[in-house]
């Protein structure tokens, strides 16, 4: 490999340097019909799963074809997307907040043709490349984090759990038969880069063992006061140990205070807590972000732990499917998953979804815990 210079001169790093220019202006990338009708849209309709119609006050129409993706995508895959956009949508394409693709076309026929084309594109293993769907009262793409593909703190994989889950709920991606939209989200540790804490169904990687302590290296790799300060429960304190006749400055951990958040590890690489048996997934449900009808709400933990079962996480996906199907059968039109659970009562939610309730589901973390306990005799048998 010969090093190819871009023009950057390491001896004069400031020479010709361009910085702080920010993103390109979005206006450069709007398809003509979008640009012309910016801020002047009248209404929209979902023509069929994955196809949206937007009508402008001018009478202009644009059809959007929406397709799911794996989010982690190669340059080869992106070039395929470009080829499709060049062929069908004037060279424009959009990514949604939930990692779907969207192509704008001019007519309903073109939209249906594109939908058929996208649904025909398959990987050699049989998976769709661009399955069309993700609209209306269904499941749309799962937003997720990096997992074992690229992250240093995950308790599970992200791309794999998402693939396994979306395979199981695929019908609800391509159809709109649920009472309301269901947003599934995935975060591979409590840092929640994926912010799953307000999702209808959340897949959350968790650790269950206190950190290991790499005594011989800790003082060289970490600022001990920062590691101590990082612990939200005060479980970490400065300490010294004797190893092989040498004294090392290190930390000690009060294990019963550890809630396995991993914040100490974020501050100090000598405190790893990942563990093949200890790590796994918590399932949370009933969160939402929209202000529609009811207020935005946090997700609630309903399954404290399922083990990591790569590659297909059968316990996880079976549980999610059961919750989704029970909700679909039982909830009213427009009722989000959490609103349904609130209406029937959470004791009934566990019964209907056939989920055990354990002491792990009773909140014991600081003040917010109090607001989750029941202060009434209004309960159901």
């Amino acid at each position: 490999m010969a090093f190819i210079s871009s023009g950057y001169n390491p001896d004069k790093p400031m020479e010709g340097r361009v910085s702080d220019i920010g993103p390109r202006h979005f206006g450069e990338y709007l398809p003509p019909v979008i640009k012309e009708n910016f801020g002047k849209w009248d209404y929209h309709e979902i023509i069929e799963p994955g196809i949206l119609l937007h009508v402008a006050l001018s009478g202009d129409k644009t059809y959007t074809v929406r397709a799911g993706t794996a989010r982690l995508m190669s340059v080869t895959h992106i070039r395929e997307i470009c080829d499709i956009a060049d062929k069908f949508s004037g060279g424009y394409v959009r990514f949604t907040t939930r990692n779907n693709l969207e192509f704008q076309v001019e007519t309903e026929e073109a939209a249906k043709e594109l939908k058929a084309f996208l649904n025909d594109q398959k990987f050699p293993g049989g998976a769709y490349k661009f399955p069309v769907g993700g609209t209306g009262a269904g499941v749309t793409n799962i937003v997720h984090t990096q997992g074992w593909v690229h992250c240093h703190t995950p308790a599970t994989d992200a791309s794999g759990t998402v693939k396994a889950t979306m395979d199981v709920v695929f019908d609800d991606f391509t159809d709109m038969k649920l009472p309301a939209p269901v947003r599934i989200s995935m975060a591979c540790c409590l840092n929640m880069c994926g912010a799953v804490h307000c999702s209808d169904i959340a897949i959350l990687g968790i650790h269950r063992k206190p950190p290991l302590i790499d005594h011989k290296f800790l003082d060289n790799l970490c600022e001990i006061p920062l590691a101590v300060a990082a612990c939200p429960t005060g479980a970490v304190r400065p300490s010294k140990v004797e190893l092989d006749g040498e004294t090392y400055k290190t930390v000690a951990i009060k294990e019963e205070r550890c809630m396995f958040c991993g914040n100490c590890y974020t501050m100090c690489p000598s405190l790893p807590l990942s563990d093949g048996e200890g790590d796994g997934i918590a399932i949370m449900v009933g969160g939402k972000i929209s202000n529609r009808i009811t207020k935005p709400a946090f997700s609630k933990v309903v399954v404290p732990f399922v083990p990591n079962e790569p590659p297909r996480w059968p316990t996880l996906t079976k549980t999610i499917k059961k919750i989704l199907d029970t909700y679909a059968k039982d909830a009213n039109k427009y009722e989000r998953l959490g609103d349904w659970a609130n209406r029937i009562g959470w004791e009934r939610f566990f019964e209907k979804c056939d989920l055990p309730f354990s002491e792990h589901l009773i909140d014991d973390f600081r003040d917010p815990a109090y607001y989750t306990w029941r202060q009434t005799t209004q309960f159901k048998w």
Binding site: M14, M73, F95, N291, I293, P296, R312, Y334
Partner: protein
């Protein structure tokens, strides 16, 4: 021919959902063939080695990526996340595998020219693998080596006029819904505001000066398509003050079954005929709608939840006196539990003509306060919880308003200030003793 055996990952190639394993394999093959004759600047087989290390994690149930490491480009404190494999001998292609965050066009609209140019850089200088997009909104280039970082930055800024995104204790890349570009509900130009504030605060975005990360997110309406209320330290959520506009003829068309409710979102199942009483009137959270052949909304009582508008988008339109609400302090659970954004400013005009100065004043007031009062690694939501909503309101320089609370306080432990009390706090003990014996 695959470099590593991946029997577990191979099982993720079947099933309908797009397979990231198939895609990485496809990239591994493409790089091995190298039909373009590229002089790849990082190991050609890094996609193979990524599959190898991932398979190892599937066997062990543990990650094989080492903790961070400080890498980046000159003069910036963020935008690149250092990453090293903890089994470099086995997987040399990904021994060094840093992530580069790249600023996305707001609303994530692209043309193929831009996408092709972006992937061209990443083909030559990176792994050929990306996230489109990361959870915060950036384009994420997944995996390169340290010597390539300045080169990538140079090509991005010089050839594509695009900057890096944020990481570390700074302003993270702001994100917005698609707003006015394709949505009739957008109450303000969320993309333009996002763009303007992103440009204004480039220094805060690239050079960490904050106690911890800070996120702006922009939702054009209360439907919240970018989840601003749940995951941004400052959320700008579009709203309106005046009346919902009603077209009674179109309401009748919904009632008569000529137009599917909710824009056809429930078409996958037979829910029976549209029942306006049950589906709109009864579900209104503030019970301000009635229907007797004509739809009436008592707008003064409306909380603008969007349900009636979402259900009959052709008949009902958002009001004309538009702006946004600003909420503060949302975050995921680390460290002190999850927090939803709390309403700081019920309504503010989104005024491009004065370069959004009213909004920038609030932003800067809040940052000044947080940089002064915030502890290391404390999100502003935690600072406001520790010091109180009233302190935040005071610092932001916005009026106190009943809309900022769900209900008044439960306890009378009010932190009165000396200036709140007649005569202040300065008192004379001898004067007191004249009236009260020891």
């Amino acid at each position: 021919m695959a470099k590593h055996k991946t029997p577990l990952l191979d099982q993720l190639e079947s099933g309908p959902w797009p397979s990231f394993v198939s895609d990485i394999k496809q990239e591994a093959d493409a790089r091995a063939k190298n039909e373009q004759g590229l002089d790849y600047q990082i190991p050609v087989d890094c996609p193979d080695d990524l599959l190898g290390v991932l398979e190892m994690s599937y066997t062990d149930g543990e990650t094989h990526w080492k903790h961070g490491g400080i890498v980046g480009v000159f003069g910036y404190g963020g935008g690149v996340i250092g990453r090293y494999c903890d089994q470099p001998q086995m997987f040399p292609g990904v021994a060094h595998f840093h992530t580069v965050r790249v600023a996305q066009p707001n609303g994530k609209w692209y043309n193929t020219e831009l996408l092709r140019n972006l992937v061209k850089i990443w083909d030559l200088r990176g792994s050929g693998l990306t996230n489109m997009h990361g959870a915060t909104g950036d384009i994420v280039f997944l995996g390169t080596t340290t010597p390539q970082l300045e080169e990538i930055f140079w090509e991005l800024t010089h050839d594509l006029e695009i900057d890096l995104g944020g990481s570390g204790s700074n302003l993270r890349t702001p994100a917005t819904c698609l707003g006015m570009s394709r949505c009739e509900y957008a109450c303000y130009d969320s993309q333009e505001l996002c763009y303007n504030l992103t440009q204004e605060y480039q220094d805060e975005l690239h050079r960490p000066a904050f106690p911890y990360k800070f996120k702006f997110k922009f939702d054009g309406c209360p439907n919240g398509c970018v989840a601003a209320i749940a995951r941004s330290d400052l959320s700008f959520i579009g709203t309106w003050k005046d009346e919902i506009k009603i077209n009674q003829e179109v309401v009748a068309a919904y009632v008569g079954g000529e137009i599917a409710p909710n824009a056809g979102a429930h078409a996958g199942r037979d829910w029976g005929a549209f029942d306006i009483q049950k589906e709109v009137v009864d579900l209104c959270p503030s019970k301000c709608i009635s229907y007797d052949g004509k739809l009436t909304i008592d707008n003064k009582e409306c909380v603008r939840c969007m349900h009636c508008i979402n259900t009959m988008p052709r008949a009902l339109k958002i009001g004309d006196e538009r702006g946004c609400s600003i909420l503060c302090g949302a975050k995921a659970p680390i460290l002190d539990g999850p927090q939803m954004g709390s309403l700081l400013v019920p309504f503010i005009e989104v005024n491009k003509d004065d370069d959004y100065q009213a909004i920038k004043d609030i932003v800067e007031n809040i940052w000044d306060w947080w940089m002064e009062e915030g502890k290391n690694r404390e999100r502003i939501g935690e600072t406001m919880k520790r010091l109180g909503m009233a302190a935040l309101i005071d610092a932001a320089g916005v009026p106190v308003d009943a809309r900022q609370v769900q209900e008044p306080r439960h306890n009378p432990y009010i932190f009165w200030k000396a200036e709140d009390v007649e005569g202040g706090w300065e008192r004379d003990i001898n004067d007191f003793r004249k009236r009260h014996q020891r």
